[in-house]
Symmetry: C2
Subunit: 161 residues, 2 copies
């Protein structure tokens, strides 16, 4: 875990800002960084419980709020459920793709969005500390499955959507 740059950096930030490095905070951040997919508070609670059953729900919410305030993580919303928390990259960047059909989340690593954002923040006189880009549509496997269906019904019917 110590070799996880996001984890170390996160803890350092907590410390630097004058907050205590408590067990609850460390465990929550560990869970977030290890499973660096998108977790809901309920999922985080489950993982945290496995490591330390003593930690309660309230502490998890308090940790998540703190991390959000410090821009270590960011809550995002998709498919109208409860928020998912994601760990931001060192430059405050995060981008992912969500498939409308299978709800799969694909992380987008390589992305030159910072170039655009530099211009934008200059234009509006904004100081940028981070961003989340959420792209949605249809993923490769769902797309090809659709084509298959199209092929099957050629000459017999057209798909409505």
């Amino acid at each position: 875990m110590k070799d996880n740059i996001l984890y170390s950096r996160g803890l350092q930030k907590v410390k630097d800002c004058g907050y205590k490095l408590t067990g609850a905070r460390q465990t929550v951040l560990q869970v977030l960084c290890e499973n660096h997919i998108h977790l809901t508070s309920a999922e985080i609670y489950q993982y945290v419980k496995e490591r330390n059953p003593k930690i309660g729900r309230a502490s998890i919410f308090r940790a998540l709020d703190l991390f959000t305030e410090l821009s270590i993580i960011r809550p995002t919303y998709y498919e109208a459920q409860s928020p998912h928390y994601i760990v931001l990259a060192e430059d405050g960047h995060h981008a992912h793709f969500i498939c409308n059909q299978c709800d799969r989340v694909i992380e987008i690593e390589e992305c030159q969005i910072n170039n655009i954002l530099g211009e934008l923040s200059a234009l509006h006189n904004l100081t940028m500390t981070g961003h989340v880009l959420e792209v949605y549509g249809v993923c490769e496997s769902c797309g090809s499955r659709d084509k298959q269906i199209d092929y099957d019904v050629v000459g017999s019917a057209t798909r409505s959507n």
Copy 2:
């Protein structure tokens, strides 16, 4: 209202997909399109009530879910509260900036992000239907207010944050 392109397009989509054009749905979409800022379900409920007190909470949630499914709107999350619903542009684009200090939301209109996204979707074999870009940091007025404070305390104290 009829001249609001997002509103008309939204209703058309509802109709085209075989859903009824009911009073509740029309009112909710009107509210969303007129106040095209970010509204929570509670705020939407208030506005809707003003126009038609008969409409209940459940219908609002059901309308929001439908609109989300049809990519007419998108729920987003910021400052760890309940989701805010935003109306997407015709090309599925939406971008905004959120000030960490005053929570102000600034819409970003001019944005060439679609260029980047085109490349990305080709790379991953994704079909893109829309996106939300959420940038956060410090806005112009909060930024200059900070400088003012810095100036005021020069020589007497340093600010912790």
